[in-house]
């Protein structure tokens, strides 16, 4: 997994609530057996018309936001399906950070497994960042995971919270599975206890 420590990038405003994973990556693109190549289909039904032509006023089709690396969105971002294709598509497009008032649980988890930083902030602070994002390509935001800060193009600093374990994994690009396998003796011991207590499992 790619590390995430600092990011300076264009932030695209998407002031919609309940952006679901079907919007982020519709089901017809879940038939892949790979993790890569989904960026072109990100937000497919909002981004392209029925014939595959770009819908010009969709935010990521506008010239100033085509290279966005940050997305600022409404409440409950990533709700719905567990498909990890949603963060894969965001990452493949180039989005490394999503800022919203709240996230759906599974999507939130999935981001961390893919080097994407989801930042949940109170609505008032998201509103400030949304206004900053609306300024276009010259308004670059700075995100510093170590310091847990976002700096707007005007120099305003917004602090954010993050679980320490997830932060550690993201900053170091750690592979969860390797970390857990180091705990194999604890898993073995648990299985021995559990098979005595609940042999029917």
């Amino acid at each position: 997994m790619e590390k995430f420590d600092k990011l300076t990038g264009i932030a695209a405003p998407m002031p919609l609530i309940n952006v679901d994973t079907d919007m982020i990556i519709p089901k017809q693109f879940l038939k892949t057996i790979k993790r890569t190549g989904l960026g072109v289909h990100l937000f497919d039904e909002m981004r392209y018309d029925g014939e595959g032509g770009e819908i010009p006023d969709f935010v990521l089709n506008t010239p100033q936001y085509r290279d966005a690396e940050i997305l600022v969105a409404g409440d409950n971002f990533g709700c719905g399906s567990s498909r990890e294709h949603a963060p894969w598509a965001l990452l493949d497009f180039g989005i490394r950070c999503v800022i919203a008032p709240s996230f759906a649980d599974i999507f939130y988890n999935n981001c961390f497994k893919n080097g994407i930083l989801p930042i949940a902030l109170p609505q008032e602070q998201v509103d400030i960042l949304m206004r900053d994002a609306e300024k276009g390509a010259n308004a670059r935001m700075d995100i510093d995971l170590e310091a847990q800060t976002i700096t707007t193009s005007d120099g305003e600093v917004v602090r954010f919270d993050i679980d320490p374990f997830r932060k550690h994994c993201l900053i170091n690009g750690l592979d969860d599975i390797a970390l857990t396998l180091e705990k194999a003796p604890a898993i073995d011991a648990f299985e021995a206890r559990a098979s005595a207590a609940r042999p029917w499992v």
């Binding site: 609530i17 409404g74 759906a104 988890n109 898993i187």
Partner: protein
């Protein structure tokens, strides 16, 4: 000992390790796998030379992509779908996990197959790369959806790194009125709390109306816990649960059954347990519901009218405006006058035998409105066989419904069962998102009885008028 909720008890019984930073390693008893969210996980194992730690507790079945028409015995025509199902065939064989291929009568939607085969038992931890894993919570099992990276993690380690959720109690008091079902309960809860109302929580459903539900109904309720944002939904096991489980192929037997039963009977929330959030709804107040918009929280009684964006505040007003445009509805229009093109009865929410019985009861001796497309997709091959044995299939085909083979089908439209742009569907599934059932398709969620009633009249219909 301090009082505990059911969630606390299951959590504690599965805790492998607790780190100082608050992250916990939780043991997973059952891992369900389907073809869409697993290929990259198995590929990851191959690339790192890792094995499946407990293949005997891993259960795979193809469901999302499989066609539900009889010609599927000749193979899957869509190449990408076929490759994905073939990848699962190969992965199941290479890694030695339990497998129900398309040709097996036990094949079906993963969340229907698990309970049916007795894989899902009270007090277990159950995960699957699918958000509707919450279904299994009906047995008092802690069950939730995970992403593909976590699928790989569970395959390799039989554990999951977790942060503990908060406890939320949803009580449905009293009794349901005639024509009101488990689907209406779960939709009513989401309508009341919103799609983010359960975020960060595990919901335990309780109260007389929940106790009165069959296991099938309880699965319907828990299935949509995720639509309310909850990590999982739970219902404490009781005699109905034990009766459902007993005798199933993978349920414990003999002395093990007795030992299991003794533990299962301790699985309830202690009377003075702490709840972070409590929601109470009177069962008598719930009417047959339908959705009008593009979020599962957009629910209204069938007797209501389409709302106006001005009825909402903040971001929801904009969302409602967008939803009405997408759905092709006008504020003030009575919901019972909304005409439909298609009826879909099935899915992990409502594809069980009781759902088919409810639909058949409405459809007996009636016909699907002319020009309407109507299909029933049983949740598993065994549900299909039982419905045929009970004479339900005859009622459906005589009424003019297509009688399909088992799969996820038009719930998410990954197989050929899809809506055309602008096509309007009365559906018993779980999501009415934009494009969910096909690009531009318009979905109204409801119970099987309500969907059957809509099939007869060709519009959204109050099933109570036909009872």
């Amino acid at each position: 000992m301090s009082p505990k909720t059911l969630y606390d008890k299951i959590w504690d019984a599965h805790l492998v390790d607790e780190a100082e930073d608050g992250s916990s390693l939780l043991y997973i008893d059952r891992h369900l796998v389907h073809e869409v969210t697993s290929p990259q996980a198995f590929e990851g194992l191959r690339m790192t030379g890792r094995k499946v730690r407990n293949p005997q507790n891993t259960i795979a079945v193809p469901d999302h992509n499989v066609p539900t028409t009889p010609d599927r015995v000749d193979g899957i025509k869509n190449e990408e779908s076929r490759i994905q199902v073939e990848a699962l065939d190969r992965n199941a064989q290479d890694f030695g996990v339990n497998y129900y291929p398309v040709s097996d009568i036990r094949q079906g939607i993963v969340h229907i197959v698990g309970p049916e085969q007795g894989w899902t038992l009270p007090g277990m931890t159950v995960v699957c790369g699918d958000s509707h894993t919450a279904t299994h919570g009906a047995f008092g099992a802690l069950a939730h959806g995970i992403g593909t990276s976590e699928v790989e993690h569970v395959l390799a380690t039989q554990t999951l790194i977790q942060q503990k959720s908060k406890n939320m109690k949803v009580e449905i008091t009293g009794r349901l009125r005639p024509g009101v079902t488990a689907k209406d309960i779960t939709m009513a809860v989401i309508g009341a709390t919103g799609t983010a109302g359960g975020t960060g929580h595990v919901i335990e459903y309780c109260g007389e109306a929940i106790r009165e539900l069959s296991m099938e109904g309880r699965m319907t309720v828990c299935n949509m816990a995720i639509e309310g944002g909850a990590r999982a939904g739970l219902i404490a096991p009781d005699e109905k649960t034990f009766a459902y489980v007993q005798g199933r192929p993978h349920a414990p037997k003999g002395a093990q059954w007795e030992a299991a039963l003794a533990w299962w009977k301790t699985l309830y929330s202690d009377p003075d347990a702490h709840w972070d959030k409590v929601v109470t709804i009177r069962g008598e107040d719930i009417a047959p519901l339908v959705t009008w918009g593009t979020s599962p929280e957009d629910v209204l009684p069938i007797t209501a009218s389409v709302p106006a964006p001005e009825d909402f505040t903040g971001g929801k007003a904009d969302a409602a405006r967008r939803a009405l445009e997408y759905m092709g509805l006008t504020a003030g229009q009575p919901l019972s006058e909304v005409e439909i093109d298609t009826v879909f009865i099935g899915s992990c929410t409502n594809g069980r035998i009781e759902d088919l019985r409810a639909a058949a009861k409405v459809l007996e001796g009636k016909k699907v409105k002319e020009g309407l497309r109507a299909m029933i997709v049983p949740g598993s091959g065994l549900v299909r066989a039982q419905a045929e044995e009970e004479g339900l299939a005859d009622i459906f085909t005589k009424a003019g419904f297509e009688w399909r083979l088992a799969g996820c089908s038009m719930c998410l439209a990954m197989n050929p069962d899809q809506l055309a742009p602008g096509e309007r569907c009365a559906a018993t599934s779980n999501r009415n998102f934009e494009g969910r059932q096909g690009r531009g398709g318009r979905t109204h969620l409801m119970s099987p009885a309500m969907a059957a009633a809509a099939a007869v009249t060709g519009r959204l219909t109050d099933v109570r008028e036909m009872m």
